[in-house]
């Protein structure tokens, strides 16, 4: 059972992360605030609690890989990486500036600690399949010779609308075929695409059945509840023989009432909007 102290500490970190996201957005005056806010708890739980990482040594071969499929929500990752010490928080004001290490969409060549360069959706999960297979090839005990079947875990953070891309289902086939038990796909089910409501109107549902039909161990959780997120992540470590999919129910723009109401995807952040957001942001 995870202690109250740890949960409280993570909630505090998530609160700080939301404020960081606003600061980063103000750096360019524009960005994907809504989808960044909805993955804050998922990212904080991974980066600050669950994943094996070493900020001192970003290329450590045994580290867990975190792949941001929905690379437009990079602001949240930038905050986590900077707070872990991969780079300075001073970079926040340079977001999207020419020559900045913080690109408009997550780019691994530019930002220390990132695994994947994205932007065009649907590709992160396929890339993660490659990483998960490599983890097995590197393991001294190859799956085909039995024994511990991987060196590290791969966590892919995937948007809900992103799962409408065909590439996602090609990757779902492959992960299931190769029984990639070290691969976890976390779907940020915030119900909204850029302009389309996809959750309630029948585009995605029944989502859980789809993933199960593709051979994935699948569960649904509250994506803003640390206790649930961490309990699920710990539980799935003990499930073997299948890739895992966590459908995390989230709210687009979570933590900032105005954005929650508008389901905002991409929005301008001028000084007035920034001050307004910083005043109204609350601890989830």
């Amino acid at each position: 059972m995870i202690s109250e102290k740890i949960i409280e500490d993570l909630r505090e970190k998530a609160f700080r992360c939301r404020k960081d996201v606003m600061t980063i957005l103000r750096g360019s005056g524009m960005g994907h605030g809504g989808p960044s806010m909805s993955i804050v708890e998922l990212c904080v739980a991974l980066y600050f609690h669950h994943a094996k990482l070493d900020p001192e040594n970003p290329d450590w071969d045994d580290r867990d890989r975190i792949v941001l499929g929905k690379a437009h929500a990079c602001e949240t990752i930038y905050s986590c990486l900077a707070r872990l010490g991969y780079f300075s928080t001073d970079t926040f004001t340079t977001y999207e500036h020419f020559g900045s290490m913080l690109q408009g969409h997550a780019d691994a060549w530019s930002t220390p600690g990132l695994e994947y360069s994205g932007g065009s959706l649907g590709q992160g999960l396929g890339f993660s399949v490659g990483l998960a297979l490599a983890s097995r090839l590197k393991s001294p005990y190859n799956p085909l010779r039995r024994g511990p079947d991987h060196k590290y875990r791969v966590f892919c953070i995937c948007g809900d609308t992103e799962t409408m891309e065909g590439d996602i289902w090609e990757a779902a086939y492959a992960a299931s075929h190769y029984k990639l038990s070290n691969l976890v796909n976390i779907i940020d089910y915030n119900q909204f695409g850029a302009y389309t409501s996809i959750g309630h109107e029948g585009w995605l549902e029944p989502l859980i059945e789809k993933w199960r039909a593709f051979g994935w161990w699948t569960t649904e959780i509250d994506g803003h509840n640390f206790r649930e997120i961490i309990a699920t992540l710990e539980k799935i470590d003990n499930i073997s023989g299948k890739p895992k999919c966590i459908i995390a129910r989230t709210v687009k723009g979570k933590g900032i009432p105005f954005y929650e109401m508008t389901h905002a995807h991409m929005f301008p952040v001028n000084e007035v909007a920034y001050q307004q957001a910083m005043k109204t942001v609350y601890k989830v």
Binding site: S117, Q123, G130, A134, L137, H177
Partner: protein, 342 residues
């Protein structure tokens, strides 16, 4: 030059007048694929980092029989998009994925190559068949792959002219760190080179000296270039032939030198001229030393299927070359026309 079977080529061309088929001087189609397969196995045995990825285009059993462990042969089923993405992830972790398929299928995973492989220049080797299936019809004829691959930043583009060069360029590509697109041939091509052919990435090689014009060929069009040059020599026209097997990086000095010394350039490719090899050469010529140019290649059109594609001699391809004006005769006419504009 020593490593070119020029004499053999001439003898066989003379004999060809008597024969209705040119098949006798083609490498056997199966033989080319066997050479390719054996070379891949050799590379995989020498380098444990090499893994094979495929979209339903290989038999895992064949690889196991050849001594490659099953876990290094990854078949993702008919999922071209995911094959490329998984290759990218494997390359990120230090493996060298080799992806072999028909070249036209790259279009299905184009954005994935552009973003997930190109951006970080992951070490993936695309070894793709062109001329894969004459009978396949317009969908199966690789006429636009160079155009869409050459514009991806950092990815190298290479097309060998025969089986010897094919093996050499595959070895060079595996030793190079970064993404490489190699356009090999799924059909029979003549054997042109001896084993000592000095292939180097980014280096063009002059196969035949000449002073009146230069034919710069890409990939398997070299033998058409040599045939055209041979025929033109009988009319007193002295044509240089350059084998430009690397399109990226392009050997610009060789092109500029040819422009200066011969004053006319004709490019040859089995690909559309829109965005193809010829346009890359033209870019160098017009910037450095403008001379009259012409390009032999597929015009703004789709092709269609043709039979006899399994025959020795690539009868199907011959019919297509005639229909779309890619033959040595067309090349020779283009050379003469270009010389007139000097």
């Amino acid at each position: 030059m020593k490593y070119v079977l020029e004499n053999a080529l001439q003898e066989k061309l003379d004999e060809d007048k008597k024969a209705s088929s040119m098949s006798f001087w083609f490498a056997d189609r199966k033989a080319v694929r066997n050479i390719f397969g054996a070379h891949l196995m050799k590379i995989a045995k020498e380098n444990e980092k090499v893994v094979f990825v495929s979209a339903d285009m290989l038999s895992v059993d064949d690889y196991i029989k050849a001594g490659i462990p099953e876990y290094r042969v990854l078949n993702f089923g008919l999922c071209e998009a995911n094959t490329v993405l998984a290759a990218s992830g494997l390359a990120k972790e230090g493996f060298i994925p080799i992806y072999n398929n028909m070249s036209w299928l790259l279009g299905r995973s184009y954005n994935n190559i552009f973003q997930s492989i190109g951006t970080d220049n992951h070490n993936v080797k695309f070894i793709m068949y062109s001329r894969s299936w004459a009978g396949g019809g317009a969908s199966h004829h690789e006429i636009n792959d160079i155009a869409f691959m050459k514009c991806i930043p950092q990815i190298l583009c290479i097309a060998p002219a025969d089986a010897v060069e094919m093996c050499k360029c595959i070895t060079a590509a595996v030793n190079y760190i970064g993404a490489v697109f190699i356009r090999i041939f799924g059909q029979n091509v003549p054997n042109l080179f001896e084993e000592d052919y000095p292939f180097k990435i980014g280096k063009a090689i002059t196969i035949r000296e000449g002073k009146d014009a230069t034919i710069i060929s890409f990939g398997t069009e070299l033998w058409r270039g040599l045939e055209a040059a041979h025929n033109l020599s009988k009319e007193g026209i002295d044509v240089r032939v350059i084998n430009m097997s690397t399109l990226k990086p392009l050997d610009e000095p060789a092109i500029v030198q040819a422009a200066k010394e011969t004053g006319a350039i004709v490019t040859a490719e089995d690909h559309t001229i829109l965005g193809g090899f010829g346009e890359s050469v033209a870019r160098v010529v017009c910037r450095n030393y403008p001379v009259p140019m012409n390009m032999i290649g597929v015009r703004d059109t789709y092709s269609q299927s043709t039979t006899d594609f399994l025959e020795q001699g690539g009868g199907g391809w011959k019919a297509l070359e005639e229909a779309y004006k890619l033959t040595a005769k067309d090349l020779a006419e283009a050379v003469k026309e270009t010389i007139k504009r000097k």
